[in-house]
């Protein structure tokens, strides 16, 4: 008699031939949470391909994909290149169209088990239109919280730590954090409110009274906490004395921004998470800060040329496309996130073997100067390399789809002329596009670089420093 093999859903099974740590037994004293983190890339990729076939097999039966993937034979997919060559991408606009057509909240991408949805989440409001994603208990108990647990471990969190968690209940990442923090055995501290500046006082009070060792928050809120504390005359080093690490999400951190915050707050390290609720994917950077680790047992990430759809090599920038590799959730197969990013070439010094991706912001927020895509992050990051301009609010002026010159406005009326000239020179040298920098008067206090239309430019005067 031959025993039959009962197939397990992809989300419930460990990687083929690679042992994963049982959640009940966190490896105290170990650098890596499980062996999967450092498994050879070829093994990871082979296991991920197997998962991909299962995901595709399920996807072809879902209403949204039925026609799109009608020609795809899941079992015959030989490689990820083959997958890319045969499987079409889709964008959020396609989901919006489906939502509007259905009138309900489902879009036909829900690959749920028999128990149905445990929770439904709103995705982000990009394009001015949130869509919905469904998550089953299989996903919560065996899926993405495992990758979040890995990234928390990777970034210094350990059982018993007091963790301030400033996330709303409605967000997908918050739900994953909840499970991962529980598995971690962290003591979780939640300040009242949500992540807008008027609640910052609650967070300061909580930090002062409850002394968390780890902060999970959004980038803008961390800045707001610091600014409010300084405005109140609080010694921020004293306030943050118990805080060893912070992990932020929402906006990419420049090197200068990270260095400033780490020094100002006396942190051991500051980590950044990236990803998107559209696509239900994400990853954090590690202590090497060389891009976000994307766990190959959960997501397959590609970067495509936004104009041609051609897959790009590591080190080339394009639109980030994600495919989820677990089930019992809304399933995104070659979902074009329309985020600008690149796969980071080479191995990570941390020893983890999974792909890394760096994210620079929304494609829609970029300007094209002499054919080169420039993201607000690019300008922010370069200017944060100049002491005197770290964190100075700035605007990038958009004058249409193609521009001959990158136009930047800095907060202030007449700071030293040398500084603006230095900014123009540095931007031109590092971005390799013509640059004009002006002092733009009083700009809204915000770390992230913002876009302004040509109309806004007219209101901003000052001498210009042009560089070609």
């Amino acid at each position: 008699m031959t025993a039959s093999v009962i197939p397990m859903p992809a989300g419930r099974r460990d990687l083929h031939d690679i042992g994963t740590t049982r959640i009940a037994g966190l490896p105290a004293g170990r650098r890596y949470l499980d062996d999967v983190e450092t498994a050879p890339r070829a093994s990871l990729q082979a296991a991920a391909l197997e998962r991909l076939r299962e995901v595709l097999e399920r996807a072809v039966g879902l209403p949204f994909y039925r026609e799109r993937l009608a020609h795809v034979d899941a079992a015959a997919i030989e490689s990820f290149d083959h997958f890319a060559a045969t499987t079409p991408t889709f964008r959020k606009a396609d989901l919006i169209a489906e939502l509007q057509r259905s009138g309900g909240y489902t879009t036909g991408i829900e690959a749920l088990g028999e128990a149905g949805a445990a929770a439904v989440v709103l995705t982000s409001g990009t394009l001015g239109f949130p869509t919905f994603a469904s998550l089953g208990w299989g996903e919560f108990d065996h899926g993405s919280p495992r990758e979040v647990l890995r990234e928390l471990w990777m970034d210094g969190m350990r059982p018993g730590m007091r963790v301030m968690c400033q996330y709303p209940a409605w967000h997908h990442l918050s739900m994953l954090d909840n499970r991962a923090l529980e598995w971690m055995g962290a003591e979780v501290l939640c300040p009242w409110g949500t992540f807008v500046p008027r609640f910052v006082g609650h967070a300061i009070e909580l930090i002062a009274e409850r002394r968390p060792e780890y902060l999970l928050t959004v980038t803008t809120m961390l800045h707001a906490i610091v600014e409010e504390a300084l405005a109140r005359g609080v010694d921020v080093l004293d306030l943050f004395e118990p805080v060893r690490y912070a992990m932020v999400v929402g906006e990419p951190l420049s090197f200068g921004q990270r260095r400033l915050l780490v020094d100002l707050l006396g942190l051991e390290d500051l980590f950044e998470r990236g990803g998107s609720s559209d696509g239900l994917w994400g990853g954090a950077d590690c202590p090497a800060h060389g891009g976000h680790h994307v766990w190959l047992d959960h997501h397959w990430v590609e970067v495509l040329d936004p104009d041609t759809g051609r897959p790009l090599e590591a080190g080339e920038r394009g639109t980030v496309v994600v495919t989820n590799l677990t089930l019992d959730r809304s399933l995104y197969v070659r979902f074009d996130t329309e985020d600008l990013g690149e796969l980071i070439p080479g191995p990570c010094p941390c020893g983890r073997t999974h792909p890394r991706v760096e994210l620079y912001g929304r494609l829609a927020d970029c300007v094209r100067v002499e054919g080169r895509l420039v993201a607000p992050y690019d300008v922010r990051a370069r200017l944060d390399e100049i002491s005197g301009l770290v964190g100075v609010p700035l605007l990038i002026v958009r004058e249409g789809a193609e521009m001959a010159c990158l136009q930047v406005r800095l907060d202030g009326d007449s700071r030293t002329e040398d500084l603006a000239e230095m900014a123009a020179e540095h931007l031109q040298a590092s971005l390799e596009v013509p640059v004009e920098v002006r002092w733009g008067g009083r700009l809204p206090k915000r770390w992230k670089a913002r876009m302004a239309t040509d109309g806004a430019r007219q209101a901003i005067g000052g001498a210009a420093w042009r560089r070609r």
Binding site: F132, F140, C165, A169, E187, C190, W192
Partner: protein, 240 residues
């Protein structure tokens, strides 16, 4: 051992520290409240509140760490949360249109936004039962009457006092506040002056949760013993 600490909404109200068992007791209180309001298996529930509000974080096991069963799991409903900022009223309209909930839990301060002015929900989307709550407070009777007339799905109150880990819903039929005796010790203390002969026994609610080690707390919730013969077999307390 405390596994979750949540800051209370009211300034100076401090923090609530939960063990797993205490958190389960608090979630049981919300689940019972949902049951009183009529939430059942298969229902869709929208919570328009901050994630730090017990109305939100106890609504689903997905919304809080260390929570084994939230109100969704206790009742068989499915919850979706919209962050409780006034700016999100447009998102809420979008959710009501597509998610089509049977119940909408919202912060009481947001009710005027839902009912009047440019942010008002379209009339065809006012079909969910609207359940309003505020920490240690309830809307004035006149406001409530006005709102009830404008919300098609009916309106109920969820009494809430975070500092006492207190949650209790009104019975939609008799409007008595259902306070589960196995979860709370509740009594009327500090008698308030009578506003009319019908207000016998009116006073402030003093409450102590049985699932959390807290001293009895006199809330600012004004309650009274409900009138007899109100059509329901239970008779706990009534918001006054």
């Amino acid at each position: 051992m405390s596994v979750l600490t949540v800051q209370a909404e009211r300034p100076g109200a401090g923090f609530l520290e939960f063990s797993r068992e205490a958190l389960a007791g608090y979630a049981e209180a919300l689940g019972r409240a949902w049951g009183v309001l009529g939430v059942g298996a298969g229902d869709r529930v929208v919570v328009y509140d901050y994630g730090s509000s017990p109305v939100a974080y106890l609504a689903s096991r997905a919304f809080a760490p260390y929570l084994e069963r939230g109100a969704s799991e206790l009742t068989g409903a499915t919850a979706l949360c919209v962050d409780g900022l006034a700016d999100n009223v447009g998102r809420l309209a979008h959710v009501l249109r597509h998610f089509k909930p049977r119940f909408l839990f919202a912060r009481a301060e947001l009710a005027p936004l839902l009912l009047a002015g440019p942010t008002a929900m379209p009339v065809e989307q006012r079909t969910a039962r609207l359940v309003l709550s505020a920490d240690g407070d309830t809307p004035a009777r006149s406001e409530r009457v006005s709102w009830e007339g404008r919300w098609r799905g009916g309106l109920s109150l969820l009494a809430r006092c975070d500092a006492a880990a207190f949650l209790a819903a009104e019975c939609p039929r008799c409007r008595a506040l259902r306070v589960p005796e196995d979860l709370y010790e509740a009594r009327i203390t500090r008698a308030l002056p009578l506003r009319s002969p019908h207000e016998q026994g009116r006073g402030l609610l003093t409450v102590r949760p049985r699932f959390l080690d807290l001293d009895p707390l006199t809330t600012e919730l004004s309650v009274r013993s409900p009138a007899k013969g109100n059509g329901c077999s239970h008779a706990d307390l009534e918001l006054a």
